[in-house]
């Protein structure tokens, strides 16, 4: 049916994820319990996500959220103008428009005259050791790490990123052992206090490239 180790999907999965993966169609297959052969696709590759979700195609019209968008826009403007930090939590049931609201904010941010860095991370519902997966996505985007980079390349890019953004950092502060750790930034290193100075030391960061 498909090469060993490949991922075969049916129509529902194909439709739901074709924006995220490139698929190749395969001949329909006969499946026990189904009268008709089922169309199947084999996943060829993940579409690169460099800190921003892949565009999901034509969007549903954006309606009825002007006040909420305005609140996000004002929070952005305040953070920008005051040089301060704002946290806005967007809460709602699945499908009610949270991600869409964020996309509208991005359009607003893109339209601003100033240069702005935009980074996205996604929390995952499963698995162990993925506490900081979302932040790992952010760092991968910042460092320009691609899904298919080998561990040595990942380590080098991470080192470059750290050297570029942290004043006074040398070229070699990035832990390279185990190399896989760099490829899976979501893995937990250190305890919950590992982040302790990270936020507070933001002022030491140089402007984002």
């Amino acid at each position: 049916m498909a090469p060993v180790g490949s991922v075969l999907v049916g129509e529902a999965t194909y439709r739901a994820t074709r924006g995220l993966f490139d698929y190749q169609p395969l001949p329909p297959v006969r499946v026990k319990g189904k009268a008709e052969p089922l169309p199947v696709w084999v996943a060829a590759s993940a579409r690169g996500r460099l800190g921003v979700a892949v565009d999901q195609g034509p969007a549903t019209p954006f309606l009825g959220r002007e006040a909420e968008l305005g609140q996000l826009q004002r929070s952005y403007a305040t953070a920008r103008d005051e040089g301060s930090v704002r946290l806005v939590t967007v809460s709602g049931e699945p499908g009610v428009g949270k991600s869409r609201l964020v996309r509208e904010l991005r359009a607003f941010v893109d339209a601003q005259p100033e240069l702005i860095a935009w980074r996205e991370g996604h929390c995952l519902p499963y698995g162990e050791g993925i506490s900081f997966w979302a932040l790992g996505e952010v760092l991968k985007a910042q460092a320009g790490i691609l899904e298919f980079d080998d561990p040595a390349t990942v380590a080098a890019k991470l080192a470059d990123m750290v050297a570029a953004v942290v004043e006074g950092a040398g070229r070699a502060p990035v832990a390279r052992d185990p190399p896989g750790a760099a490829a899976r930034p979501g893995q937990r290193h250190g305890g919950q206090d590992g982040h302790a100075g990270a936020g507070g030391d933001l002022h030491r960061l140089a402007p984002l490239p």
Binding site: E11, A12, E36, T60, P61, L63, G64, R65, E68, Q71, L72, S75, Y76, A79, E82, G83, S84, V85, R86, L87, V88, T89, V90, S91, G92, E93, G95, V96, G97, K98, S99, L101, V102, L105, R106, V109, I116, A117, W118, R119, E120, G121, H122, C123, L124, P125, S131, F132, A134, L135, V138, R188, Q192, H195, A198, G199, G200, L202, P207, L208
Partner: protein
């Protein structure tokens, strides 16, 4: 240091974050200084069951935007935009509104199904029975 570039950091689905990440984001909001940073965290309401104080402070630095279901008027505009026309006859519109419940994703799925399954007659504006509200968006093969 010369110009500092503002950063917008989006964290999606924070209800799936574990305590360590929540602590990090909270720390960022409360303690970070000297940077233009907007953190936008999306979450389902269940986060507040786990952490009732989330997003409450510090005053001015942390706020919560709650997305309620769309009003009937906005849902009506959305349906019209999705279908390319209004559904106005035979109580179908009220049924649609009830099924959709102000949820744009449901609106999209219901309208797509109506379209796919030929339940909507665009010429006459008549509309067949919409599928159950939480039915799966899987489309029937043509």
């Amino acid at each position: 240091m010369a110009a500092r570039r503002p950063l917008v950091l989006v964290l999606e689905d924070l209800h799936w974050a574990d305590d360590a990440l929540l602590a990090f984001v909270r720390h960022l909001a409360e303690e970070a200084r000297g940077a233009s940073l907007l953190v936008v965290a999306t979450t389902r309401p269940e986060l507040f069951d786990r952490d009732p104080d989330w997003g409450q402070g510090p005053p001015g630095r942390a706020t919560t935007v709650t997305l309620a279901p769309l009003s009937d008027a906005d849902t009506t505009r959305l349906i019209a935009a999705l279908l390319g026309r209004a559904v106005a006859r035979d109580g179908a519109h009220a049924t649609l509104l009830g099924r959709i419940g102000g949820n744009p994703l449901y609106a999209e799925q219901v309208c797509r199904m109506l379209d796919d399954q030929g339940l909507l007659e665009r010429e006459t504006g008549r509309c067949g029975s919409p599928p159950p509200r939480r039915s799966c968006p899987t489309r029937s093969r043509r």
